[in-house]
Amino acid sequence: MALQHHLLTLLIFVPLLAALVLLLLPARLAGLGRWLALAGTGLQLALALVVWIGFQSGITAPAGVFAAAGFQFVEKYNWFHLPLGELGYLSADYFLGVDGLSASLVLLAALVMFLGAISSWTITQNQKGYFALYLLLSSTVLGCFVALDLLLFYLFFEFMLLPMYFLIGMWGGPRRAYASIKFFLYTFGGSLFILLAIIGLYISGIDPEATAAMADLPLEQLQLSLQRGALESRDMVHSFNMLHLMDVDNLIPGSMLSLRGGGELWGYSARLLAFLALLIGFLVKLPAAPLHTWLPDAHVEAPTPISVVLAAILLKIGGYGLLRLPYSLIPEGGIYFAPLVAGIGVFSILYGAFNALAQSDLKKLIAYSSVSHMGYVLLGLAALTVEGVSGALYQMFSHGLISAALFLIAGVLYDRTHDRLIENYSGLAQRMPGFTVVVTLVFFASLGLPGFSGFIAEVLVFFGAFRSPSANGLLPYWMVIVATLGLLLTAAYYLWTLQRMFFGKFFVRRPEWEVALQDLSPREWGMLLPLLAGILLLGLFPNLLLDSFSPAVETFVQEMLSRGRSNLVLLTRFI
C-alpha cells in the first residue's frame, strides 16, 4: 500500500490507533500512557511536517478553496449511498484534502498537540483515561482541518466536544464541573445552528458527478439541465460535498437555499439566514463576544495542557470554519453582513481587552486576551481584502503559538504554587530570571511588537481593514479606527501585568512559595523554546507562512467578491 497516498488518513488515525493500544493495555502498564501519547502525537507531527513540506506553495501553486482540483493530498471514497425514493439519493464521502487555508493550521494543530502531550507529563490521576481522551482529541481536531465533506466535518467537529468535556470535567480545577458543562452546552448549541444549515444545504444541492452517472448524462450538460429544471428529482444525488455545494449551479432551482427562486423565511432570504446560522455556530467556537462566556470558565478550570489545546487549536477551528463554511458556501452573506462581522470583531477586541485589564487571575487575563485577539481574525476576514484575510490566517497561526506559550506560562506558575492571582506575586524576575525573559518575550509578541509574529498578523489585519473602505467599500473607516484602540489596551494590560508580577521588590503571598518558585525546568524550556522560536521566526520571515496561503487567499478574496456580489443581485428582493 502506498502510504504517501493516505497521508491525511494516517494523520487522523495514528493518534486514534495509539489510543486503542492504550485502552487495551493492562492496568499495571497504564504508566506507559504518556509515552504512547507522546509517540502518537509525535508521529502525527512528523506526518504533518511531511504534509507541510510536500505541500506546493507559492504563487504558482494551485489555490484550492473552491475547486477540487486545487486541493492537495486528496483522498476520496464513498462513505454511504442511500436511495431515498422521490428525493433521489443521498451520499456522503470520506473526502479529505489540504489547501492554502488549511495547510498551516494542520501543522499548527499537530505541533500544539505534541507540545500539549509533553505538558501533560504532570498528570498523575487516572493516566490511562486522560491520555486516551487526549489522543482521541488530537484525532478529531486534525480531522476537522482536512475534512471536505460537510458530514465528515460535522462528525469531527462534534466528536471533539466529548473528549474535551471529560478532559476539563475530570482533570480540571475546582469549578471544573460547571465549566465543562457550560463549554459543552455552548458549543453544542452553536453546532446545532451549523447542523441546520448543513441539512438545508445538502437537500438544496446535488453532486453533479454522481448525478451524471446516475442520470446517464454527460457531466458538461448536467448543470445546464439542472438549472433548466430538466432533471428528475428521483435521479438527483444529494451529497455533503462542500466544494460542490459552493457552486451555485449545483443548487436545485426553487429549493430553499438555491439562488434562483430561493426560499424565504419570515420574509428574509433563506440563504442569508443560513449564513447567519453558520456564522453563529462558529462565532461560539471562535469565540466572539457576546457568545464567549464559556471561554473564561473553560480556560481557567481546564488543566494546563488542555487550556493550551483549547486556546491554540480549538478556537482556530472556529476561525477556519468561518472561512470554509459560511464564507465559501454563501459568499453573498460575507458581503451583506461584512459590517456586522467586523462590528462583532471590533466589539470582541475591545470587550476582551477591557476585561483582560480588569482581571486579577492570570489565566483569566490570558483567556480574555484570546477573545480580544480572535476579534482581529473577524475584522480581517470581514474586510475581504487579500491583506485582511491573510492577516486573519496569520493571526490564527500566530495566536496558536502565542496563546500556547501564554497558557504554559500560567501553568508554570500554577504548578509551583497552585495560585494564579496576580496580586500574590511581585518581583519574580529576581528568583526566576529565565522565566521572566520568556514571559516578557511572549507578552511582547502578544501585544504585537515588531519582530514577533503577532505584529505581522495585526499589521496585515489593519492594512486590510483600512484598505476595505476604498477597495471594496465593505467596512466604514470609523470601525477600523475604533479597533486600533485595542492595540493600546493590549499593551496596557500586558505591561501592567509584567510590572506588577515580575518587576519591583520580590514578594509572594505565602512564605513556602519562596522555595517552590524555582526557575524553568528543562521540560518547560523544551516546550517554551520551540514556541518562542516559532514566534520569532514568523515575526522575521513572514513569507514562511504567507507563501503557503497566498494563492488560496487571493482566489478566496477574488471569488468571494465576484460571487458574492453577483449572488447578492439575485437576492435584491430581500434587501
Binding site: F80, L82, L84, N126, Y165, F184, L185, L195, L196, I199
Partner: protein
C-alpha cells in the same frame, strides 16, 4: 346500511374467508399459541425451571413469529383480512417487525431479571405483543379499539408486576388514566360510527359519510380528536403523558423498556393509518380549513418542550428516561406529520434506532441498580472508575439519545430533521419548520440532562465507604448492552444497512 350487507354472507363463505386469511396472520397466531402455552407451562414446569423455561418458550414464540413474518414476505398490494377489519400493507409489516424486535429484546432482558416473576408475566408480555402487532394492521374501529384495549390491559397488569406499594400504585395510576383515555376514544368512535354508519375506516361509506353535508363540522372534528386522544395516550404525547413517569418508575425494567417501544411504535403506526385515511379524504378537511399538522404539531412541540424540560429536574433515572421518551415521542410524531416519503423513512429509521437506544438505556439502569441498589443519580456517584465498561456504555447510550455523532442517534435525528426541512421547503406547512426548530432547540436541553448521568458517574466523588453489591455479576445484561451499543456505533458508520432495510417498505 350498505356496508353491512356484504358481511351477511353465508357462514360458510365467512369461514372460508377466515381460513384463507389465516396464513397471513401466522405471526400473531404463533404469539397467541406461545401465550397459551406459557400459562400451561406455568402449571406443568417444575419450580426451579419455570422461569427459564417460560423465557425460552416466549423467545421461541417471538422468534417463530419473526420467522413467519419474514417468510411471508411483503404484500405487493395492500390486502384486507378478516372481513376488512385488518389492512396488511408495508406500513403494517414494518411496524410489526419493530414490535416483534422490541418484544424479543424485552424477553432477553427479562431472562436474568427476577427469579420469582410469576408465570403470567410471559403470558401477558406475549399478549401485549399480539395486541401491539394487530394495532398497525387494524383498519376497523372495532378492531382498533380491541387491540388498543388488549394491549392496555396487559400493560396495566405488567406494570404492577414489580410488586409492593410502588408497583400497585403505578399500575393503578396507569389503569385510571388508561381507562379514561379508552373511554374517550370509544366515545369518539361511537360518534364516527353514528356519522358514517360504518366501522371500516377504509370504506367509501366512511369518507362519504364524513363528507356529507348533513353533518355539522364541529362534531366530526370533535369525534376525530377524541379517537386520536386514545392513540396519543399510547404514544404518551403531551397532554396524555401523565401516566408515563409513574408507570416507568413502578414497572419492572424490561416492561418499562417495552412500554417505551412496542405499544408506542404500534400506536404511531395506528395514528399514521388513521390519519392517512383522513388525509386521503383531505378534501373535507381542507374545506373545513382544519389542519391536522397544526394541531398535532402543536402537541408534538409541547411534548418536546415538556418532556425535555421536565427531565432536567428528575433525580430518579427511570423518571428521567420516561420524560426523555415523552420528548422522543414528540420527535416521532413530528416524523409522522411530514406525510411524505422521506418522512416515513426517517420515522422508521428513528423508530429502529430509538428501540435500540432505549433498551440499552434500561438494561444499563438495571445493571447499575444491581450494583448500587438504587435508581437515583446520587447513587451513581463515582462509579466511572469502578465500573469502567458499564460507564462507557452509559456514555455511548446517552450520546446516542442526545443525538451526537458518532452514534446512530445522530443519524436518526439527521434524517428526521432533513425530512422536516424537505417537507417544509417543498411547500409544506409552516408547522414543519417550527417542529424542526423546536427539535433542534430542545436538543440542547436534552444534552444537559443526558450528560448528567456521565457527570455523576465520572465527575462526582463516590461517598466514603461505598460498596458495590454485585461487582462482576450480571454478565448477561452486560453482553446485551454491549451488543446494543455496538449496533448504535455501527449504524452510524453504516447507516445504509438500516436504510436499505427501510427502503424495502413503501409507505404511502
Amino acid at each position: 346500511m350498505e356496508t353491512t350487507t356484504p358481511q351477511i354472507a353465508s357462514l360458510d363463505t365467512v369461514l372460508q374467508q377466515i381460513l384463507q386469511d389465516l396464513p397471513l396472520l401466522l405471526p400473531e397466531l404463533a404469539l397467541s399459541a406461545g401465550a397459551l402455552l406459557a400459562i400451561l407451562g406455568a402449571l406443568i414446569l417444575p419450580r426451579q425451571w419455570r422461569h427459564q423455561g417460560l423465557a425460552a418458550l416466549s423467545l421461541l414464540a417471538i422468534g417463530g413469529a419473526l420467522y413467519l413474518l419474514l417468510k411471508g414476505g411483503l404484500p405487493a398490494e395492500p390486502q384486507y383480512l378478516l372481513g376488512r377489519t385488518l389492512q396488511l400493507d408495508h406500513l403494517a409489516m414494518a411496524f410489526r417487525l419493530l414490535v416483534l424486535l422490541s418484544g424479543g429484546l424485552a424477553v432477553l432482558f427479562s431472562v436474568r431479571q427476577h427469579k420469582a416473576l410469576f408465570a403470567e408475566y410471559y403470558a401477558l408480555l406475549l399478549g401485549l405483543l399480539v395486541a401491539a402487532n394487530l394495532m398497525p394492521m387494524a383498519s376497523n374501529l372495532l378492531l382498533i379499539y380491541l387491540s388498543v384495549e388488549t394491549a392496555s390491559i396487559c400493560a396495566y397488569l405488567l406494570t404492577a408486576f414489580s410488586g409492593g406499594r410502588q408497583g400497585a400504585e403505578a399500575g393503578l395510576k396507569y389503569l385510571l388514566f388508561g381507562a379514561v383515555a379508552s373511554a374517550i376514544m370509544l366515545y369518539g368512535m361511537s360518534l364516527l360510527y353514528g356519522f358514517t354508519g360504518t366501522l371500516d375506516i377504509t370504506a367509501y361509506a366512511f369518507k362519504s359519510g364524513l363528507l356529507s353535508l348533513n353533518i355539522p363540522v364541529l362534531p366530526v372534528l370533535l369525534a376525530a380528536l377524541l379517537v386520536l386522544a386514545g392513540f396519543l395516550f399510547k404514544i404518551s404525547i403531551v397532554p396524555f403523558h401523565l401516566w408515563a413517569p409513574d408507570a416507568y418508575q413502578g414497572a419492572p425494567l424490561p416492561i418499562a423498556a417495552l412500554f417505551s417501544t412496542a405499544p408506542k411504535l404500534a400506536g404511531l403506526a395506528l395514528l399514521l393509518r388513521f390519519l392517512s385515511h383522513f388525509m386521503e379524504s383531505g378534501l373535507i378537511f381542507a374545506g373545513l380549513r382544519f389542519d391536522w399538522q397544526l394541531i398535532l404539531g402543536a402537541l408534538a412541540i409541547a411534548s418536546m418542550l415538556i418532556g425535555n424540560l421536565a427531565a432536567v429536574w428528575q433525580q430518579d433515572v427511570r423518571r428521567l428516561l420516561a420524560y426523555s421518551s415523552i420528548a422522543h415521542s414528540g420527535l416521532l410524531l413530528a416524523g409522522v406529520l411530514v406525510f411524505r416519503e422521506l418522512g416515513y423513512k426517517a420515522l422508521l429509521f428513528y423508530s429502529a434506532i430509538y428501540l435500540l437506544m432505549n433498551f440499552a438505556a434500561f438494561i444499563l439502569v438495571s445493571i447499575l441498580k444491581a450494583e448500587t441498589g438504587g435508581y437515583l443519580l446520587n447513587d451513581y456517584k463515582g462509579l466511572g472508575s469502578r465500573l469502567p465498561l458499564t460507564s462507557v456504555l452509559v456514555v455511548v447510550v446517552m450520546v446516542a439519545l442526545t443525538g451526537l455523532p458518532p452514534t446512530a442517534g445522530f443519524t436518526a435525528k439527521l434524517f428526521l430533521f432533513s425530512a422536516l426541512w424537505e417537507g417544509y421547503s417543498s411547500g409544506g406547512s409552516k408547522m414543519l419548520l417550527y417542529l424542526l426548530l423546536t427539535g433542534i432547540a430542545t436538543s440542547v436541553v436534552a444534552l444537559f440532562y443526558y450528560l448528567k448521568i456521565p457527570y455523576y458517574l465520572y465527575m462526582k466523588k463516590a461517598p466514603e465507604g461505598m460498596q458495590l453489591l454485585a461487582t462482576g455479576g450480571r454478565v448477561w445484561e452486560r453482553v446485551l448492552a454491549s451488543l446494543l451499543c455496538g449496533l448504535l456505533l455501527v449504524f452510524f458508520f453504516k447507516a445504509d444497512w438500516v436504510m436499505n432495510w427501510i427502503n424495502a417498505f413503501t409507505i404511502r
